[in-house]
């Protein structure tokens, strides 16, 4: 079984608030279906724009096969900043999954697909406003 670390948010995720208990349930269910061995989730600081906990996960990524996040929308809206974060994982030959969207990044091409999805969703949200 692939060992994975969870990553959840204590800020709003794309304008919506999800209790940590719910985020963990979504991750746990996803890991069960993917047959991952789920370790505890790390909780990102609620401080605006903080990714200090995510950076710590990256420092320790050698201990696991990958990271399972609650949602892609926990990450910065800016594609470049987000790509930098995800590239660090791919370089180490690890993966990052997003349980809510059920998508996974293992290769560079996956980042492009995720960006496409994120951009469409952001545009959609902007139009609604």
């Amino acid at each position: 079984m692939k060992k994975v670390k969870g990553y959840i948010s204590s800020r709003k995720v794309f304008g919506n608030f999800y209790p940590q208990k719910v985020q963990n349930l979504v991750i746990r269910d996803y890991c069960k279906r993917k047959k991952y061995f789920f370790l505890f989730s790390s909780v990102e600081y609620s401080i605006n724009k903080s990714y200090l906990i995510f950076e710590e996960l990256l420092e320790n990524i050698d201990k696991v096969k990958g990271i399972v996040c609650f949602s892609i929308f926990q990450f910065p809206l800016d594609n470049k900043i987000r790509n930098n974060m995800f590239n660090k994982i791919i370089k180490k030959k690890k993966f990052i999954d997003f349980a809510l969207e059920e998508i996974s990044i293992k290769k560079k091409v996956d980042i492009l697909n995720v960006n496409e999805l994120a951009t469409i969703r952001y545009e959609d949200e902007i139009k609604k406003k």
Partner: protein, 269 residues
């Protein structure tokens, strides 16, 4: 937070402070007291030992030795089982409160909300699977109107314990945080390592701390296991964070006039 610092500045300008729990908390950010009810703390310890024994047949009953009977792989399963079982005991919260009743009364008040489930931590030597890196509870959903009551079930010291940033280092911390905003929490910890205080407690002592102050733990490099409990108390009618009344907290004590008030409805015409 600026408001909090202002209070402290005002406070330190006073020449002589009476040694009340409130003043110690304001000055240091934490206080260590002897249990107000030793019987209760023994009761809690026995409940934990009894529950572990049900899960780990060969366990010798000495919590310091837990690592000799439980593998790190099975640790979380056992921890969850103990956590669920002890929290089913309706006496647990009353006993927990009784170890620091008077202090809570002074620091928080007498109309209280309590965490619905009391947390239990197992820190086995060399285990890196259940660490809580540098954090403030307020950064992950708790409100600043809460206090943590932390009870070790064994003597704790150095890496077998936890660390906290004392109140007088908080401004320095904020500056460092700004400078290291793109780094990891581990780098933040390393930068401030010498400012943290490691809390040494004997079994029977209680730690009460301001959870807005950064704190955490590291790998237990001592030879014995740490088992500790933690629970938050807050004024029932004070603001809640994203951990709210109902999902994370429940009413613990409420005065009659508050009961009358919360049930009162203006007459309708």
């Amino acid at each position: 937070m600026i408001f909090q610092i202002q209070i402290l500045k005002d406070h330190f300008n006073m020449k002589k402070l009476p040694k009340t729990y409130s003043n110690i908390l304001l000055k240091n950010g934490y206080l260590i007291i002897n249990s107000e009810n030793y019987g209760s703390i023994e009761w809690i310890k026995n409940l934990i030992i009894k529950t572990i024994k049900k899960n780990v047949k060969k366990f010798d009953g000495e919590l310091n030795n837990l690592h000799k009977f439980v593998s790190i792989k099975k640790l979380n399963k056992i921890r969850m089982s103990v956590y669920n079982t002890i929290n089913k005991n309706t006496e647990l919260k009353k006993k927990y409160f009784s170890v620091c009743n008077n202090v809570i009364d002074e620091l928080v008040g007498n109309e209280l909300a309590i965490q619905k489930k009391i947390n239990i931590s197992f820190q086995l030597p060399k285990d890196n699977s259940s660490l809580l890196s540098l954090h403030s509870d307020v950064w992950s959903g708790d409100s600043p109107y809460e206090i943590v009551v932390w009870i070790p079930m064994v003597d704790v010291y150095r890496t077998k314990s936890m660390y906290i940033l004392p109140q007088n280092k908080y401004s320095k911390f904020l500056n460092t945080l700004k400078k290291l905003k793109n780094k990891s929490s581990n780098q933040l910890y390393k930068k401030l390592k010498n400012d943290f205080i490691w809390l040494n407690l004997k079994f029977g002592q209680i730690l009460i701390f301001n959870q807005t102050l950064p704190h955490g733990n590291v790998i237990n490099e001592e030879k014995t296991s740490r088992i500790s409990l933690n629970c938050r108390f807050k004024g029932l009618f004070t603001p809640y964070g994203t951990k709210t009344l109902g999902d994370f907290f429940e009413p613990f004590s409420m005065k009659v006039i508050s009961k009358i008030g919360t049930n009162y409805k203006l007459p309708k015409l």
